[in-house]
Subunit: 424 residues, 2 copies
Amino acid sequence: MSDPARRPHVVVLGGGFGGLWATRALAGAPVRVTLIDRANHHVFQPLLYQVAAASLSGPDIAAPLRHIVRRQDNVTVLLEEVQGIDVAARSVRTGAGEYEYDWLIVATGSTHAYFGDDEWAAHAPALKTLDDALAIRRRILSAFEYAEREPDPLRRAEWLSFVIIGAGPTGVELAGTLAEMAQHTLAREFRHADPRRATIHLVEAGPRVLGAMPERLSAAARRKLESMGVRVHVDSAVTEVDQTGVRMGDERIAARTSLWAAGVAASPLSTGLPAERDRAGRVKVAPDLSLPGHPEVFVVGDLAHVEQGGRLVPGMASAAKQMGSHAARIIKDRLAGGSSRAFRYRDYGSLASVSRAFAVVDLRGVEMSGFTGWLFWLFAHILFLIGFRNRFAVMWNWAWSYLTWQRNARIIVGRDREDREAAE
Amino acid sequence: MSDPARRPHVVVLGGGFGGLWATRALAGAPVRVTLIDRANHHVFQPLLYQVAAASLSGPDIAAPLRHIVRRQDNVTVLLEEVQGIDVAARSVRTGAGEYEYDWLIVATGSTHAYFGDDEWAAHAPALKTLDDALAIRRRILSAFEYAEREPDPLRRAEWLSFVIIGAGPTGVELAGTLAEMAQHTLAREFRHADPRRATIHLVEAGPRVLGAMPERLSAAARRKLESMGVRVHVDSAVTEVDQTGVRMGDERIAARTSLWAAGVAASPLSTGLPAERDRAGRVKVAPDLSLPGHPEVFVVGDLAHVEQGGRLVPGMASAAKQMGSHAARIIKDRLAGGSSRAFRYRDYGSLASVSRAFAVVDLRGVEMSGFTGWLFWLFAHILFLIGFRNRFAVMWNWAWSYLTWQRNARIIVGRDREDREAAE
């Protein structure tokens, strides 16, 4: 049809689930697409905790964005940091210059919120990117090394004490895998510090773990965690985090390693958008996911505040994919002379893996826990992993770990001491 | 037999091939062994270039030291930087305090030598550790990304130009794999910069590539490299390296990415040893590999200057392993009342992979090149990889790459721009 260079220009910000699914849904459409991300890869975020826990290597759960969309010839991928959005001028400012758009899809996701206490970030790092996962892996593995050479028993116990703040799926998964690492993987490899004496604390401000799940599953997950030695603290809001521990009101846990799996906040880029926002900074979008007053701008994924049936659509991969595809579909429809339709979220449920061979699954009607849940979890994760090769590599790594309790990625790169000193 | 805590204490510095093979050879001996390394892992260095070239992930070629020696109960592994050696006091100074020894095995290896021009290091990084490999991977992959968004054709060509300095095995292997990456792996994934137009320069001060190999194999490797588009410059000593290129006398190559695969120098730790040294800083050891005047101190691996038949024993994995085992054997013999024996190097030859399906192999009598050589290379590398799991993972990755030309680890972690800005 038309000259490709004169086709409408769709700029997609972010190569996570929202942005990538939007880009893919524009395959074959009469548009030029520019997909901008500051990383060169898409990350399968639901398995990021396994990279942090040394079970998988980074490349196992990531694929280069350019590789994923290589056959889609209306897409240009740009590795660049977005600095600002000017909706009046319809342009996006990046380190490589300005990009004008006819349509914009903002899918820059969320970042971690420390509820105003940003200095906590240095002591309790959060898990959002591959870089984060590698830094957390380094921190966890190094803690056991520090314990090994600490002669003072009290300080050694501090190095063998871990606090995970936030008991949503990521917090629960981290606590479970850390307990297994200490009890099994590392068990016999130290001479002075016994990893089996490590204590894993899971701290949650709300009344139960996995608060978004049905109570029965919450209870099952908690029982399983406790059976593995994890100490679960509910109704415990964290009031202080420093390099030697975490305080929750009157109670204090001495621990040299804290990880943050609590609040999320909208990516800072969204502050440039002229729109109403919720408390977490998410943009309140129109029913079709567009920015109110700007039908050419869509906000999708974790960044979008969308309510359905009185409930917020959750910040999950499946919701982000659905929103990305929806925005793309509307652009195609409108280019074809059609009109917008409201987004309808199809809720397939949620799931969390507590340990090897134990997961909880809520399919909105069907609930599973234990081994059955874990088989379902396994199947779902393998199925949704991007790229055949990664799927196979992950399967192999899991099978190996399952049989041997070993983890393939117990490699420290970078210097943990520098991270910790920078935090002081 | 005796109280384990009162057994003679052997301190091993370095968990590379020399130190690890020494440690393993002390299994069952009536000694306590402390193995100190600043990394938590042993790296299979011969495949480090494949991590840099995004074919393998770090954990594929590395295994935690503690895991390797977990069943050897006379060994304690310590993750620590060694700060100095005091041979008079028989002690080693580390960040975690002093360690006294009865026997010392120094296996801290080599580092890269920039022939006095240390500022070159920032512009032409070298490949020695996993951290180096990840930084080089980031640099290579980022160069193609910068090229993609560079509008000026001259500057774009600079981003697509790569110089590898030094045509020993590492330089040849890097040049070959980089050419393949540009010609095949990345070929169709960019819209503005065509990776197939990348130029790979291999610069060597000596008269031929793979100078330590027989001339016939050198020539075969060179022909193969040139058939892949690599520009080979021999008799070309580098006189200047900066962020925009490399100068060799009157000639200059404009290139935004330079990699160093040339000189090596002994690890700086060796300067604390009271001994004669060669020009590269290697310690001239006694025939039994001990430090002259200090029969309780051994120097093994790349750090040791050992001549045999008038030739220097090369800085290769197999030589380091043999030296490590030899030092351990002498300690055991002497504890049993025996005497020292001279080290005899068994030269099994050397090999280098030029491209997929093409390697050159010199078995000191039998020479192979091309596909046969590559099959031998493949077999030897799989065989010698530490740990069954890694072997399988590497095999799988190779098979996959071989069939698809894809690479599994094309993931940029960290920020290349920060590396480059720090260099300016």
